[in-house]
Symmetry: D2
Subunit: 386 residues, 4 copies
């Protein structure tokens, strides 16, 4: 069991962060997630490009002053020299910096947990893959929705043949909170700035999540894509809505709706997967319910926390007994926990194949998707090979 | 109020049917629906091409022997000569016959209630439009889902501006009961026989329902369509699954998933409509719940039976008090009732603008969609103007 | 099959109504329900004590003037003398008249379909039972919720042992539409007038529904009851809220919440039944979903329209294919249809054990409950044997 | 804001645990919850009466050997002498020990976070209240469900008058996982052993949760109770099912169903609260949805994460943006966070009235309920004043 790993290791992993200041939501989410299982000690950070925010954040995180860096180069340099330097770094900056930061820390032998999208384009992702492969480091990509117990259970259901051969795939990320364009350029999120990933950031920001989730659960990759993206909000410079159709082998079809402006929606990530024998449906907003339907039986609502009912892989992601909602942070924490267990196993020389975290190869796949869908969109939705 | 119309008319409408024998589900659905409001008296029929089924059905319907016809030509001929002949006929045959039957009865001055899809192709629909326009008859097309109180309420919400200007439209019909191809050709439903409407019958059988529903609720028509249809079932000669993307004015997008083989699904008709101010969601399987969401308020579940809360148009479709599910048959019956009230109003010379039933113009629109989507599919999903 | 009965009978049952004028909701509900299956012809009525309403209602029902009676005595007298006189009468008056009306029609050999509660007290119910037993007539009591497919399926599940031995029963009727006391005495519904059934009418009006539903599904009768009723609305003279606890054999407990004033509720009838092996949950407002839960499997949502999945008794109540909501009127219509089939079977001398309608014995049981619960309430909730 | 408190404090609270070994579920839940917000450092523990489990647990918690105690007396003694001794202790043992442990630590000036039920009976609770009042320590009782954002929002809705004056209260805890009595006495949970709290432990184990939740949300306390408890499981020595009715001022009624053996249920805690103007419904298994209903508007589903929509008190309990499920652990963590903020505020001399945790007075109230309901049950459900 994973807890015995921690037992043997006898201490927490020395951990740092780049980005993730208190002015960002994602930084605190990483910290909540990392703390849950007591496997990380946050001891260093370059938490913001704004020195004031960096300072305030590191104080709140109880990081010593001398390890609160203004610059990630310096952080990589200093930490790698210290005997008690960080072993793992989380990158929570906007995506245009991911490549450079990852490269620097990996060069110093520091493993990386990287926010999505992995890089700002496909070529960076391909180069990063080579860097990771040559390093002796671990690399995780926080497509966090793969940490949900019911998402993992869905994957296991697919693997076990519960729904037969997959034929139709829908994975949508139809969110609604960004109905108005931010006018203050300083407050504007990178997802609405074309300079970082081009006009198609929606494909990177939420498209990669949906794409990774769909491939994780179905174990299938589409062959080509037809994408149509639109700007629906006055004054916005990046796409904020779009419809994608995928073609898988043997002509099978899938689809994906991406939106930042589905008025009244909250989060909006969900999937519906149909096979020859049945289907699975899941929505992130009600993450403890996985619906299994088949032509011959009543609809089943599968819920977490039952060791005797669930697959090993699905139950591995549960911390609580039946009827106790796990929620988003514990799902995110599963990536941190599984990464830590892999890291510690490696350190202490123990075999460990349990758990899951998206890795560099997932990252490359999401950028292939990003690339092909961008080109399709630029060609009025023409089919483009992925 | 509509009931006073019946009062003045003093009798039920003399009604006949072509098709709809007891071997078909749809025939009995029409009869249940027509009986609910006591506005139709079924007195004549050519209820099946199989004389035995015709006979048995007419007996069960308590139709006199001499008005149970083996042939719809004879029926039109005889009934139009009788003083007590039928005034309205329902056509419930497969679609390849709709045009011919409608033409004959309209020629005799008998109004028509026609099952969908209106005809087997666009040119027939256009010709039928001219015939209807020249006649003094009423013509209804039973896209029955427009009879649901919450569907009508949704339309009124859209009209009232409750969700602002429409920007994204999804209307799916993703059903699941036809996972296996019928091998006995005599038992095979017309929807799986290419000889009636071509290989694209799925567009006619369920696509027209979804299309009509979307246009009814949104009051919008798309400009072009990209359609990809597939045969997923071994041995099937017609498409049984497909993905469609629509473009509306100003580049706005919509989508439609059509399927007969979504394993484990039951009916599967639903819509989600987003505007600048909010959104509406409805599913036929839970038809008494209409969800209204907006960025500024909690999700609302709107339910029927409240005169003081609903629009006039929405409440008009309610027969029951709050908390009493109306169900499918009462929705279907609303088309029969509203048609009857129109018919009777005309007869007794009374103004009547309440109610709704899809008409010949809806029929033409659905066939334009059928035509364009078929051609797009034949061109690997290329955009085709509707 | 039941439709062949109608076939042999060759005509509709001659039917009349007492009460049920257009100023009442329940009258039209009976008529909608009776018309659905084409087994009744409404030809006579004493439809209101208000002659104007009686006249208007009979006109709307297309009843001939000479058979629209101002008085039910006269109606029974005349109709029983006619060769084409009614065979079945529906009583839809307030409950204080049920006994007298039923008695008169039964004496004339006319079968009775009676609204609930069966009578205004237990002694009338017991006397009526003797009258029915001595007559050759059928007697139905419209506890309409037993007509729902999923209610009947629940009963069959219980009978088949799907949830093991029953241990805990909840059946609530917690409705909300009567938050304000009607001040106009002429408009006040009998349910809020103590002169008809005493201050405890809530037990008769909705309590008997819940009680009948619970006994129908569980096949169990409680041994004693502890009831606490309250008047929550200013100026109201009858109880409008209450909590009841039941004890079944071996000390097993049940409970029932009755309310007219659960603010924001719509209908509010539901049950939850637990056994040694699993449990069933159903709510009238979502009547097509029956939830089956067990300690060893995922929750199942059972839905109607599947001949191969359902029990014979459950499927008998379905008119539509899967995914098409049956709704309230078709459930109510099942009682009319099953009564008609029983009536016709008897007439034409055919065995027929399919279907179900609550009868005089159900009526007596509900009045025993009414009587015991009233007395418990008058004794501060003391346990009283039923 | 609360995070600035931590900032000023500059370190985490020194924290210990009594009970909560890895053989118990509740111990790890406390630790997960305490870690989330980085306000506690677990440095000492007497984690089990079984020395092996105590050792293993403290190793997993990375507690130093010299502060892993076999005995809580020794722990209180030693820790209170150390300069770096614990400031707060969590008591996670069975309830019969709570009083003694709390007393010892409070005597040493160490604040207490105590698992529920507070004590094994009312007299202990009353004595503990005096001890707490005389101490300068904080005392929290982990009725954890009051930590949910939507529970706090419900309370604020009640306070704001959103549902008017409360009239009907239901709070149930109908769980299902304990269908079979454990035969191995060593594995048997204290909740099924009469020696700790008598045969009525169900009132203490889950009844106090439901009671505390109801009083928290409604701000009302009942005046009397009628309780009927039952043993439904073969071989069980304690009650495992029961029905309770409450009477509040002016005769208003409430009810509570408690069960360990509702077959197929998972957790089963929920409330429905009705007032003169509307009602609120919440279930722990779908904790992010709070339903608000009223006679005049459509049902609203209120969800967390919206600062502009929620009350201050409700939003205070949210860590995540809209659409991200908070789940059970973050709710539990709110008690730990709010306790820490109170503790730190006191230490650094800052006013802090935000947040909430159940305290010694809540504990006394739950034991009054326990006491009265036990006596009612012993008298066949007679009304007993609370």
């Amino acid at each position: 069991m994973s807890s015995s790993l921690l037992n043997k290791f006898g201490r927490r992993i020395r951990w740092g962060m780049v980005g993730g200041g208190i002015d960002s939501l994602i930084g605190e989410t990483h910290r909540l997630s990392a703390r849950v299982d007591n496997r990380y000690e946050l001891i260093a950070g370059a938490l913001s490009i704004d020195p004031l925010i960096a300072k305030k954040t590191s104080e709140l995180c109880l990081i010593n002053n001398d390890r609160s860096y203004e610059d990630f180069h310096m952080m990589a340099e200093n930490e790698s020299k210290r005997e008690d330097g960080i072993e793992v770094v989380t990158i929570a900056t906007p995506p245009h910096l991911h490549f450079e930061i990852a490269k620097i820390f990996l060069a110093k032998g520091i493993s990386v947990i990287c926010e999505k999208p992995i890089t700002k384009n496909l070529s960076e992702a391909l180069e990063l893959k080579q860097i990771v492969e040559k390093s002796k480091c671990l690399f995780a990509l926080t497509h966090c929705y793969t940490g949900y117990p019911m998402v993992r259970e869905a994957r296991e259901k697919v693997k076990s043949g519960a729904i037969g051969q997959i034929r139709q795939i829908q994975c949508d990320f139809v969110s609604g909170p960004f109905m108005v364009e931010e006018k203050d350029i300083r407050k504007k999120h990178w997802r609405f700035k074309p300079e970082y990933m081009g006009k198609e950031t929606i494909l990177g920001e939420i498209g990669t999540h949906a794409y990774n989730l769909a491939t994780f659960v179905t174990l299938e990759k589409p062959l080509r894509v037809s994408a149509n993206l639109r700007v629906l909000t006055y004054g916005r410079q990046t796409y904020d809505d779009g419809q994608l159709v995928f073609e898988y082998s043997n002509g099978r079809l899938g689809r994906m709706w991406l939106s930042f402006v589905a008025a009244g929606n909250e989060h909006g990530l969900s999937f519906k997967i149909y096979g020859t024998k049945g289907s699975l449906e899941w929505s992130q907003e009600q993450p403890e319910s996985l619906y299994l339907r088949s032509p011959s039986n009543a609809e089943q609502r599968i819920t977490p926390g039952f060791p005797e009912r669930m697959s090993v892989g699905g139950y591995h992601a549960c911390r609580l007994r039946e009827g106790h909602p796990e929620g988003y942070v514990l799902a995110f924490a599963n990536l941190y926990r599984d990464f830590a267990d892999k890291f510690i196993s490696k350190k202490i020389g123990v075999e460990n194949s349990s758990g899951h975290f998206p890795d560099i190869y997932d990252g490359v796949e999401t950028m292939k998707f990003y690339d092909a869908a961008s080109r399709s969109n630029q060609n009025d939705g023409a089919w483009i090979s992925i």
